[in-house]
């Protein structure tokens, strides 16, 4: 099985603070990480490769030079090859433009790597939270897709995806080539081994620039051609009211809470 995993470098949102005056994210000093949902997609690919070691995993990322860090991390975890898609022309792209650039890059990479059977993405990036890029890649490529995957496996030559649904999970068979997006499974992604980390540090990561994608339509990329316009970002108003219970001990706090809830006839 030939697999391609799309990953993104994102700020660690657990470390992010918001500038109270400008209402913008303070990105300085915030570490960048591999988007967690992409790590689930990579793990899903790695599990397919565990069962069929002849499988290959290629990983791509669109971003600046420093985004190579998450490609190296992906190589250390499970990937065999990595490509960075980087160029000033791509800057400011919204999800539609980004997915178009990625789909064009995939077509270009396929010229040397051969056709990919499965394209795996995280369901969304934790910075933008749109969950649009994976499905849009499928549309640009004209592939079938399954979203909210938990895990994937190959059975009787068919790709099967365990998909999260509201009341549990369902298993969907899908023909290849296809696009799958992944959410958090019940298991943790594997850790990179020391040996793989060392090999990844030494890996040469080719960069695909705008000029390396001869078939790309310049009218469909970048900030200028992105149909999405952000009107405003803001911190939701903090809810006012409510009562803060902070007694001397936890037990006293619990007693007070109980009394208040009883008086309000909640319990």
């Amino acid at each position: 099985m030939k697999m391609l995993v799309c990953v993104k470098q994102v700020p660690d949102t657990t470390e992010i603070k918001i500038d109270p005056v400008k209402n913008t994210l303070i990105r300085e000093g915030v570490p960048s990480i591999l988007n967690p949902f992409d790590s689930y997609a990579l793990e899903a690919a790695a599990r397919i490769k565990d069962k069929d070691p002849s499988s290959t995993i290629t990983v791509i990322c669109m971003g600046p030079e420093q985004a190579k860090a998450v490609l190296k991390e992906s190589l250390a975890i499970a990937a065999d090859k990595a490509y960075l898609i980087s160029g000033r022309e791509f800057g400011g792209s919204d999800t539609l433009c980004t997915s178009y650039i990625l789909s064009e890059a995939i077509k270009e990479i396929e010229k040397t790597e051969g056709k990919f059977d499965i394209i795996l993405c995280g369901k969304q990036a934790i910075d933008g939270d749109t969950a649009q890029v994976g499905p849009e890649i499928a549309e640009h490529l004209g592939y079938p897709q399954v979203t909210y995957g938990l895990e994937a496996f190959v059975e009787d030559g068919m790709v099967k995806v365990k998909k999260e649904v509201e009341d549990g999970a369902e298993i969907i068979g899908i023909q290849t080539p296809c696009v799958l997006t992944f959410t958090k499974p019940s298991f943790d992604p594997r850790f990179p081994t020391i040996r793989r980390k060392m090999a990844a540090n030494k890996a040469n990561i080719p960069v695909l620039a705008f000029t390396d994608l001869p078939d790309i339509d310049p009218e469909k990329i970048g900030l200028k051609h992105s149909p999405t316009h952000v009107k405003k970002t803001f911190v939701p108003q903090k809810k006012t009211g409510g009562i803060k219970i902070q007694e001397e001990t936890a037990e006293e706090s619990a007693k007070k809470l109980f009394t208040l809830l009883s008086e309000a006839h909640v319990i």
């Binding site: 943790d188 850790f191 990179p192 081994t193 020391i194 040996r195 980390k197 060392m198 540090n201």
Partner: protein, 386 residues
């Protein structure tokens, strides 16, 4: 603190990821079941953490002793018990690595580096203490075979499948020899594990050896080479335990700092109290001094490789100092929590329970001081000058 090489840094980051993401969520389970999960041992093997200092041709990473110290330190910060378990895996590997023939290294080290062969080193007996000349376990030659009889005490990992290095007295001699023995072979049996105050999940047993049969080819380090093997192996082992103790203190320090920075007393953060600041500074200084001492000893052990006495003096100096100071520093940490320090929920008491044994594991702390002290006063080497 020190600039690490790319490989050392890869070891550190991997050990830290393992400790924080795989080990930390399982601490309660390990403490209460008093059992270390096999899947965590498997993961350590897969990640490469069980073969850090050993040659690549034998399945290791060839990352050196500074990397080994860094690895154990990172794990000990989260779980001194897990780091101790890894340390006692390293001991028989060090013995094989330092004293084994190429065939023995090829036979045993790859499995041990992968974590599929969990080794043990069996030297201690009820009457030996830190003196290897008091061994009563004996090896007797008969009809071209060797038979080992005796009882070994406090043997770590003895119930895991794998290889045990047994040191036994040569019959009728004042010398001893080390043997490579497969655990659970005919004549190998165990007591139930000792119930301990700390190091939960890392068990020690008495090992009964009743006519355990070995071949000449199972001799490790040559006939009558047992004492030299012990000296060389424990010289490196002292460094590993120093890393466990220093890491434990750092873990306790981190917990203590977090507690202090979040604890309010009558509306004021206790971090603003001068007495708390003063004690925190003392804890920090102790922890830092242990860390510096550890890294210096690890560098010395690498630099003087092959000079066993010099390595032993350097690691004994570190271990004697760190073993006691770590125990004392962790007690200071517990005190900083006030009455909460004794409560399981606050996690710090676990470090104190683990640290109780620090001054008496792998050789008593005073014995370490005697080893390093006598070296300093005998040799033209003060152990400190660069």
């Amino acid at each position: 603190m020190f600039e690490l090489t790319e490989l050392q840094e890869a070891v550190r980051s991997t050990a830290r990821e393992f400790a924080e993401n795989a080990l930390a969520p399982r601490i309660d389970e390990i403490e209460h079941a008093d059992k270390f999960p096999q899947d965590l041992i498997d993961t350590m093997g897969e990640l490469g953490l069980m073969g850090v200092p050993y040659k690549e041709e034998y399945g290791g990473l060839d990352a050196g002793l500074v990397a080994e110290a860094v690895c154990l330190e990172e794990i000990a910060k989260v779980s001194p018990s897990a780091a101790k378990l890894l340390t006692v895996c390293y001991l028989p590997m060090d013995a094989i690595n330092l004293f084994g023939t190429p065939e023995q290294k090829e036979k045993y080290l790859p499995g041990m580096c992968a974590g599929t062969d969990i080794g043990s080193l069996a030297f201690t007996e009820a009457g030996t203490g830190s003196d290897p000349k008091q061994l009563t376990t004996t090896a007797k030659k008969k009809d071209g075979k060797i038979y080992i009889n005796g009882v070994k005490r406090f043997i770590s990992n003895a119930a895991h499948e794998g290889t045990i290095v047994v040191v036994a007295r040569d019959e009728g001699e004042d010398t001893c020899t080390a043997y490579l023995v497969k655990k659970f072979c005919k004549g190998y049996s165990l007591s139930s594990h000792w119930e301990k105050i700390g190091f939960h999940g890392s068990h020690v047993y008495d090992v009964f050896l009743d006519d355990v049969e070995v071949e000449e080819s199972d001799i490790l380090g040559g006939e009558k080479g047992g004492f030299d093997l012990l000296l060389g192996t424990t010289a490196i082992g002292k460094l590993a335990f120093s890393a466990v103790f220093a890491g434990a203190a750092e873990g306790a320090y981190d917990l203590t700092r977090d507690y202090i920075m979040n604890k309010m007393h009558r509306g004021t953060s206790i971090a603003k109290f001068p007495t708390v600041q003063l004690r925190t500074s003392m804890i920090a200084a102790n922890t830092l001094s242990m860390k510096l001492m550890l890294y210096r000893a690890a560098q010395d052990a690498e630099m003087f490789e092959g000079n066993m006495r010099r390595v032993q003096a350097a690691t004994a100096l570190a271990k004697g100092y760190i073993a006691d100071l770590s125990n004392q520093t962790i007690q200071m940490c517990v005190n900083a929590f006030g009455a909460y320090g004794g409560m399981e929920e606050y996690n710090i008491e676990r470090y104190l329970r683990d640290s109780v044994i620090f001054p008496n594991i792998e050789g008593n702390a005073d014995v370490q001081r005697l080893i390093s002290g006598s070296f300093i006063l005998k040799k033209n080497d003060n152990l400190i000058a660069d």
